[in-house]
Symmetry: C2
Subunit: 148 residues, 2 copies
Amino acid sequence: MPTLYQDASKLLRAQGGRMTNQRRLILQILDSVSGHPTAEELCDLVNECDPSLNLSTVYRTLRWLESEGLVSTRRFLEDNRQERFDPALPSEHHHFMCSECKQVIEFDHPYVDEIRNQFEENSGSQVQNASLTFYGLCEECAEKKKET
Amino acid sequence: MPTLYQDASKLLRAQGGRMTNQRRLILQILDSVSGHPTAEELCDLVNECDPSLNLSTVYRTLRWLESEGLVSTRRFLEDNRQERFDPALPSEHHHFMCSECKQVIEFDHPYVDEIRNQFEENSGSQVQNASLTFYGLCEECAEKKKET
DNA sequence: TTCCGTGCAAAATGTTTGCAAGTCG
DNA sequence: CGACTTGCAAACATTTTGCACGGAA
């Protein structure tokens, strides 16, 4: 599986763009990160290596990746002020967020495609993208609640 | 089924709040509206009756309703700058949004609960809320695309 | 050397808040 | 009357943009 860095390099070459140090760093961090960082969180990580790298550069890079379909964006309910960036394609997995500790668990389930197919048949529309999100209490936080 | 207006009146009485003209109007419009308006869209509707009613009052009323669990909020991908308000409880239905004409179709499907139950068993977590959203082309927009 | 990309500061957007004035009960 | 609400303007948080300078090809 090609990394984001490899995909992006190829694309840049193809469209006459340039692989700058800033882009390289952002891409490497995106490849190494797990989860769904906000632009600011990403910028903080990036700044540990290059403190002068600016938040607008992070945004510009993320938006470019988004427009090329290399990252997807989402917002979780509890947390919806900031956009989160997912270095994976949409529809590849779905999410559970714990309302208490905010941890995100990714999952997948064949029934999602099932629902999608039936919805397409019933409505005549074409579904390109599906996003299922659960909210609730994760195992640990549910335990803690019981104790009190 | 009680209207939002009725539910809200009862709550206001219970907690010593006041049913002002502004709240009455906002609630009535919420009861009559279909779809998932933004605060600003709602304010425009409200202003047709009372042009002096301010956007902050709309926000304050919506946030209060949200905190009482009488409306839920969501953001659609294509459109994610503004929050949308749903005068119905979460998990009561799911959504399809057409990327072309932005219309929203609501639907429901028993498999969502199925997925949820299985996820709860596998992960040990408690799911309180589920939100499934499809994006794609509605029947009409898909037809139009074919023609060209 | 030539554009493309960057940092910076300012603008834009959406939402929240402080406060004086108004109103419901 | 007195607490709760409102309108307004200002504050806030997040994201985008214009521009002069710097760096990859």
